[in-house]
């Protein structure tokens, strides 16, 4: 919540300490206390003060930013959380933004290793605000390691605050390499001993079972996009070229329409040529 000068004056009891002094005391306590709970309490207190820009001059005067960076650098997940939230609250201030960028390595390294959802949430908000208000450039903030980490959270996070169900990935790709063993196992399982899939013909003429290609696509549909619970209603597909074994096959599934009845298109490519392509209508559990 925000306060005005008048409000703060009114809140301060007669003979009590004013906001600037109070913030100074909190910072002092951070450096002098050995009680972990006290450290967590004061950092949370300071972080919440950072929400209101009326406190920014006091926080600067008390060097609270140093406290926040120090807390990010500890092993305590609560201190890290409070520090990141503080910076997230403070980051739209020019001086604070500068300070954050000077210490971006420490902050970035926390972002990369933390498993704590709340911390990730405020880190995301921090970075987003810095970028969207042009206080920092993409080159400085977005490193390859960060992009990888974001991909990790995109796949792993079940928290709706981090991964909006609308932001879910619209395309999934994987690379599959079919071996002769795969073909033999498949033949055993399905009874499709058609010699075109066996060692009875040379490798260059041998082809992967079409149904096996479709099964791999179905695997993606049922586990990643749209994901578990999906039921295939209808499919149309074509086998355009023979799919060869011992070749990298890029399997792509793309979400076209996300409704109760969704639609996807998919293809398999080898050497950048489409060997198998199709569409499907799916019943999803929205």
């Amino acid at each position: 919540m925000f306060s005005s000068h008048k409000h703060l004056k009114r809140k301060t009891p007669e003979g009590g300490i004013d906001r600037r002094a109070f913030i100074g005391h909190l910072v002092d306590e951070y450096y002098t206390s050995t009680n972990v709970e006290a450290l967590e309490q004061v950092t949370a207190n300071l972080a919440n003060f950072a929400y209101d820009p009326i406190n920014w001059p006091h926080l600067h005067a008390a060097d609270a930013l140093d406290v926040f960076v120090a807390a990010v650098d500890t092993q305590n997940p609560n201190l890290q959380l409070h520090a990141v939230a503080a910076l997230c609250n403070f980051c739209l201030g020019k001086l604070a933004a500068q300070f954050i960028l000077e210490n971006i390595d420490v902050i970035g390294s926390l972002f990369l290793r933390t498993e704590h959802t709340e911390t990730v949430l405020h880190c995301l908000a921090l970075y987003y605000q810095l970028l969207s208000s042009n206080l920092a450039t993409k080159q400085v903030l977005i490193t390859p390691a960060l992009l990888q980490r974001l991909q990790h959270w995109r796949q792993e996070s079940k928290d709706g605050r981090i991964l909006s169900s609308q932001a879910k990935v619209q395309q999934v790709q994987l690379i599959k390499r079919f071996t002769q063993q795969d073909l033999e196992t498949f033949a055993q399982f399905t009874g499709d001993f058609n010699h075109i899939h066996t060692t009875q013909i040379p490798v260059a003429e041998r082809r992967v079972h079409g149904a096996l290609l479709n099964a791999v696509v179905a695997g993606i549909i049922g586990t990643q996009l749209p994901g578990p619970g999906t039921v295939v209603l209808e499919q149309h597909f074509k086998f355009l070229k023979p799919c060869r074994i011992e070749t990298d096959t890029v399997v792509t599934v793309r979400l076209l329409k996300a409704r109760k009845i969704s639609s996807v298109e998919y293809d398999c490519r080898q050497h950048d040529e489409v060997v198998f392509a199709g569409t499907a209508k799916l019943l999803t559990k929205i």
Binding site: A44, W56, H60, G93, A125, L163
Partner: protein, 162 residues
């Protein structure tokens, strides 16, 4: 989408040093723009057909875009207080949601105690984007207001440009 851990009520902190123990006991928790939302969840509404009552109560704070009973949605994933309902509400404006939370959280309501929690996970991407735009505007506005109310003395002028 899962975790509802962030909706569980934290314990009040009772070990604060005297100088920083405020008038009210509060939990140790941090809030940023990412924490708040025009969407909220109201736990602890007694299960005695209070839909209209809670709706009217909330509407005294501002326009509600929606107010739905979501007990069944939450009963599967979290332990709810017996004989209570959970409502998902969506205010038109953030200040209204803030005020409602401040005034109703941990207060009595028809024999139960309400627990109100922001629910940013219920926002659309567009709402999320707008939320941060609003945060920036509010900061600019507050800084201007503070300066107007109390222009900084000569020696503090270098702090102005924070």
């Amino acid at each position: 989408m899962e975790p509802i851990e962030h909706h569980k009520r934290f314990e009040y902190c009772t070990t604060r040093l005297q100088y920083r123990q405020g008038r009210e006991v509060k939990a140790v928790k941090v809030y940023t723009a990412a924490s708040e939302s025009r969407h909220m969840l109201i736990f602890g509404v007694p299960k005695i057909n209070l839909h209209t009552n809670i709706k009217n109560k909330l509407q005294s704070f501002g326009k509600l875009l929606s107010c739905t009973c979501v007990t069944s949605e939450f009963a599967k994933s979290m332990e709810l207080e017996a004989f209570t309902d959970v409502f998902a509400v969506h205010f038109e404006r953030l200040e209204q949601a803030r005020r409602a939370k401040r005034q109703l959280d941990a207060k009595q309501f028809y024999g139960g105690i309400l627990h109100i929690s922001y629910a940013p996970e219920r926002e659309t991407l567009q709402e999320l984007r707008e939320k941060f735009v609003q945060r920036r505007k509010e900061i600019v506005h507050r800084i201007q207001r503070n300066l107007a109310e109390q222009p900084p003395p000569k020696q503090a002028r270098q702090e102005k440009d924070v």
